[in-house]
């Protein structure tokens, strides 16, 4: 397939050029073309895109006018969606960065304070004299004065991916506070580079040159400079456990020799426990460390904070459906457990949403101050086909069945959605307050609160009573929300009071709830006042038991209020009309984009080749090798019969017998031919089958479905994925 010829594309290359290029290790296919102002630079004739309106609505566009109109509308909306993505995603990204910075901020400040204290301690205890500073060798002192102040930063995360960013932020933070900071990774402490490798890296970062010889005295003389010597020298090693123990030990011993002249402060990132220090470092090295421990936030805590910020407190107009959240939850807890991959998955979801959903450009309105004005303006410019598309959205089918969606109803629907989401967030935050008492993570509650099926179930009057009774049965899958309601029922005294106060803040905008809350708070306050005013012991006991009963009643009332809030206001996004505009629900698509499974898929491709190449696959649905099949698919099917070890000879013979099955008419014809002619024909057939076999086998090799031994004529080992 030659590159397509388009008005904007470079001149098509000839076939000679193509074959030459394919033998070049690399070649420039084309250079960037200068842009034409306002032109459709990235849209070529061949890649004209139709907005995918999924099945029926596609025709709706066509009814709106000629092809040119369609194309213009298409292009216009695509540009709008790109602009909206550029507004929405950066906002989400900034929110996430801010959350992570805030989580780490307090630890970073503590680390900095400790660094300052350590630096002063080193300086005050062992201030070198002028002579000592200028001498070119380290100062030999006793062991206690050769200790290095070492901060052990526990990451609480076996996966180090998240910590890469954290330690980068830490070094930036310390640098901004005036420290000299060097970041060393486990690669610098690998056996390959030796001690010289990490010294070189160190010098490169501080002196900004690559010295020929790696010598710590170069560093000492650099530090002696007046502009350098007043700041602490911090060395951050982010993955201590992965460092080569011997080299790290040598490195620490070397630094301890120089510690008087080079007031080095070490920061070691540790994923597991402080036992790992003993495992990695030699015993004599440990006595040169003066440790101080710090802990970073856990990944689950970080994730909760991100969800709270992105989807509850600073909603940017993009949402994810229940199934997607459930997938994220599993992906996070079962597969990876890193915040980084969660963010990546979220970005893929966001990209796919703005790519697939024609009306997604309206999401931008959620971040506008004058959101109503924005939607009124955008919706009024919408033409019939796109309004028809909005009317056909599954969430609008019942509501707008007769009248269809109009510009006004669309803008109104979006405003309603915003208001409804605000109420949903208020109730969810109330639930999260209860969850904090029992340290239940937000992700589980968030996932449950988004489940449209559970929302419908909760509508039944005795839902909570029944579910709370069932909580005792261990076999039943426990609902997080039901457990939280039970927790409210069992709360008393100060925690309940705190809870009601927090709820009061979250539900300020829901008048009905706010009034009920005030009533509850008053009852609780009255009871407490009565108990505290009576001092007689007998009456105190009597009142206390009465107050206990009353408290029970307040608990019940609080639990009832919680149930009422959940039933009336915890309406998931997916139960809202027009939610498709903001809500991404395509979990399958997300999975495919996120987790490729090439080996398994390639086998399915071969097994189901008839789905792509339309030939008759026979009665067994393509499982039996047929002559009409793709050659590599025939080999694959035959390999299935052979098992794990494949005899190349037998494989070839089986292949040949399939591709060379002569038709009856051919047999008849061949009867009239001379023996010489038949021999030539046979030889020809033999060559053809050999070529086809070799080619198919090579393709099989290229796909890494087989391992061929070096020795010719042997057997191949088939590499099978889980049976597709």
């Amino acid at each position: 397939m030659a590159p397509s010829k388009t008005p904007d594309s470079p001149p098509p290359s000839s076939s000679t050029d193509d074959s030459e290029n394919s033998l070049q290790p690399f070649f420039v296919l084309h250079k960037a073309l200068p842009q034409k102002g306002g032109g459709r630079v990235n849209r070529s004739g061949k890649s004209k895109r139709k907005i995918n309106l999924s099945a029926s609505p596609e025709s709706a566009f066509k009814s709106g006018g000629g092809e040119q109109f369609e194309e213009d509308a298409d292009y216009h909306f695509e540009q709008l969606r790109i602009e909206a993505f550029d507004v929405v995603w950066p906002k989400i990204e900034t929110t996430i960065k801010e959350v992570l910075r805030n989580i780490n901020g307090s630890v970073f400040n503590k680390i900095h304070d400790w660094i300052c204290d350590s630096f002063h301690a080193i300086r005050s205890a062992r201030k070198p004299s002028v002579w000592q500073i200028s001498c070119p060798y380290p100062l030999a002192t006793d062991i206690s004065s050769r200790q290095i102040h070492t901060g052990l930063v526990f990451t609480k995360n076996v996966e180090f991916v998240d910590d890469l960013v954290t330690f980068k932020d830490l070094s930036m933070h310390l640098r901004s506070k005036g420290c000299h900071v060097v970041s060393l990774s486990s690669l610098d402490f690998s056996g390959k580079h030796g001690l010289g490798g990490c010294l070189r890296s160190l010098l490169r970062q501080l002196l900004l040159v690559s010295p020929d010889s790696a010598d710590v005295s170069i560093l000492a003389s650099w530090y002696r400079e007046p502009e350098n010597c007043d700041s602490p020298l911090v060395m951050i090693i982010d993955e201590m456990e992965r460092c080569g123990g011997l080299i790290l030990s040598d490195f620490i011993l070397m630094l301890s020799e120089w510690v008087v002249k080079l007031p080095v402060i070490l920061i070691l990132g540790i994923a597991t426990t402080d036992d790992s220090l003993r495992n990695v470092l030699q015993l004599n090295v440990l006595q040169h460390l003066r440790p101080c421990t710090f802990s970073l936030g856990s990944p689950a805590g970080k994730l909760d904070a991100i969800i709270e910020a992105v989807f509850l407190k600073n909603w940017s107009g993009f949402y994810i459906g229940h199934e997607v959240v459930a997938f994220f939850r599993n992906y996070f807890s079962m597969q990876d457990g890193t915040v980084t991959s969660f963010i990546r998955a979220l970005k893929i979801a966001c990209t796919k949403h703005f790519l697939m959903e024609p009306l997604s450009f309206l999401c931008e309105g959620f971040v506008h101050e004058d959101f109503q004005g924005f939607w009124t303006e955008k919706c009024s410019s919408l033409r019939k086909p796109i309004l028809k598309y909005a009317s056909d959205l599954p969430s609008c089918e019942t509501r707008h069945k007769s009248s269809g969606v109009t510009c006004e109803s669309l803008a109104f629907g979006l405003s309603e959605m915003k208001k409804q989401h605000k109420d949903w967030v208020s109730v969810l935050l109330c639930l999260y307050e209860v969850a904090k008492l029992t340290k239940v993570p937000l992700l589980g509650i968030f996932c449950e609160a988004l489940d449209p099926k559970l929302y419908n179930l909760r509508a039944s009057p005795n839902y909570f009573a029944e579910k709370i009774r069932n909580l005792e049965a261990s076999a039943v899958k426990k609902s997080e929300i039901v457990q939280l309601v039970r927790r409210v029922r069992n709360s008393a005294g100060a925690p309940l009071r705190q809870l009601l106060l927090a709820w009061g803040k979250h539900t300020e905008d829901i008048a009905e709830i706010h009034v009920k809350l005030k009533e509850l708070e008053n009852i609780l306050e009255d009871e407490e006042n009565t108990v505290s005013q009576e001092c007689d012991e007998a009456t105190f006991k009597r009142l206390k038991s009465r107050s206990h009963l009353n408290a029970r009643r307040v608990n019940d009332k609080a639990a009832e209020l919680m149930e009422c809030m959940i039933k009336n206001y915890l309406r998931p996004m997916e139960c809202t009309p027009l939610h498709e505009i903001v809500c991404f629900k395509q979990v399958k698509m997300l999975k495919l984009a996120l987790i490729g499974d090439p080996r398994r898929t390639i086998q399915i491709d071969l097994l189901k080749s008839h789905n792509y190449l339309h030939y008759n696959c026979g009665p067994e649905g393509g499982n039996a090798p047929l002559r009409s099949m793709h050659d590599t698919a025939i080999l694959y099917t035959l390999a299935q019969e052979h098992g794990d070890l494949i005899n190349l000879h037998d494989w070839f013979q089986s292949f040949k017998s399939i591709i060379l099955v002569p038709s009856p008419s051919k047999k008849r014809k061949s009867g009239h031919r001379t023996p010489d002619h038949r021999a030539t024909q046979d030889a020809k057939q033999e060559t053809t089958s050999a070529v086809r076999y070799c080619r198919a086998k090579n393709e099989y090799n290229i796909c890494r479905l087989i391992l061929t031994p070096y020795k010719r004529g042997g057997r191949c080992r088939s590499r099978k994925a889980k049976q597709p």
Binding site: T6, F26, L29, N42, S341, T351, C703, Y710
Partner: protein, 365 residues
């Protein structure tokens, strides 16, 4: 617009003489070419980032080594990837063992092997099965071009997998949908990829784009009008033919999160792997042994090491044995020079090229 596109499609057979396990050879010996760019040129920031990107790829060769050993050891218990599919293998093994009494002992040599020349000629003439359907299938992906471009624009790299060669598909995509970006294709199936040359080519391309950008910005073009403006050059678009790989083969988790940002796409084309497989031997060809002998004979310019030092010193090429040794280590690492024990017991160095090729190289130098 400020992007480069690296298209990598790789399948390298290390030797032409026998059928080796498949090896992925992306940037062989990249660490030998560290590129330290200094200065405050407009492109320097991006280039430094690019440099970081490349330097981080240093770990790839290790991965390749792992993969090679994995392939050779085959069913080694350490082979985690294989273990993953343990169930099916055990099942088939059991099945195989049950029928071990009937196990075929026939060999390929029992077949009347065809002459290699004849076989290769026949291979070039052979018609492609289902050509029309394949054409339709590949054409059907054109509707996805804008989606792919959108993903690239959002900062993702594309990783295409599925059966069939995707070389022409990706090139067509780049030619028609990425005209506002420079596109570099790296033919990973060739083992002659020289990372230094690639880096220079990419740097030149980036430099051109930076100049073009400055011109257009002077021309008053708004930032928002530029299709890729929100992403600066720090993102290097990469798309890759990943039909036969398992992601852990080529990169580890750290690299996935820091260097690559893959978005997987299942794109089976069923197109023949014509170019990708051109260095694969045809196992039914009869001239394999002569080829081996031919390669073994390609030993030229043999010279004992001590003599070499003398010659080099005379020509003021090196001043000490240490310098010479460091050069030689470098050459050996790149397999530019190999050693062989001479009949008199001395170590001899030789360049594994034919005399004609060597002469040509000398002429070009």
């Amino acid at each position: 617009m400020h992007r480069n596109v690296v298209h990598e499609s790789r399948r390298i057979s290390k030797s032409h003489n026998h059928c080796p396990p498949i090896q992925y050879w992306i940037f062989p010996r990249l660490h030998r070419f560290p590129l330290y760019l200094k200065g405050a040129s407009p492109a320097s920031i991006s280039l430094r980032l690019f440099q970081q990107f490349l330097l981080r790829l240093q770990r790839i060769p290790k991965k390749i080594v792992r993969l090679i050993s994995l392939a050779i050891s085959g069913m080694d218990a350490k082979d985690v990837e294989e273990d993953e599919f343990g169930f099916s293998r055990n099942y088939f093994l059991a099945k195989d063992l049950r029928g071990s009494g009937k196990k075929s002992t026939r060999k390929l040599s029992d077949i009347d092997l065809v002459d290699e020349q004849e076989l290769r000629e026949a291979a070039s003439r052979i018609e492609i099965k289902h050509e029309k359907d394949i054409g339709l299938l590949v054409d059907s992906y054109k509707s996805l071009y804008s989606k792919w471009a959108f993903d690239l624009r959002c900062g993702f790299g594309l990783l295409m997998y599925g059966f069939g060669s995707k070389k022409s598909l990706l090139e067509d995509f780049a030619s028609s949908a990425l005209t506002d970006s420079g596109v570099v294709v790296m033919n990973g199936y060739l083992q002659s990829v020289n990372i230094k040359q690639v880096v220079i080519a990419l740097a030149e391309l980036l430099w051109d784009q930076m100049k073009a950008k400055r011109k257009t910005s002077i021309g008053g073009l708004q930032k928002t009008q530029q299709p890729f403006s929100s992403q600066s050059m720090e993102d290097l678009i990469a798309f890759m033919d990943g039909s036969q790989m398992k992601d852990s083969d080529l990169w580890d988790k750290k690299m996935v999160h820091t260097q690559f940002n893959w978005c997987w796409y299942h794109v089976p084309t069923f197109m023949p792997y014509k170019l990708e497989g051109m260095f694969f031997p045809l196992i039914l060809a009869s001239s394999g042994t002569s080829q081996n002998a031919k390669t073994a004979a390609i030993v030229l310019q043999r010279m004992p090491v001590n003599d070499l030092y003398g010659v080099c010193r005379e020509r003021f090429l090196v001043s000490s044995q240490v310098t010479l040794n460091s050069h030689l280590t470098e050459f050996k690492d790149h397999e530019l020079v190999k050693t062989r024990r001479h009949s008199d017991g001395q170590d001899c160095l030789y360049i594994p090229l034919t005399s004609e090729a060597l002469q040509k190289v000398l002429q070009q130098i």
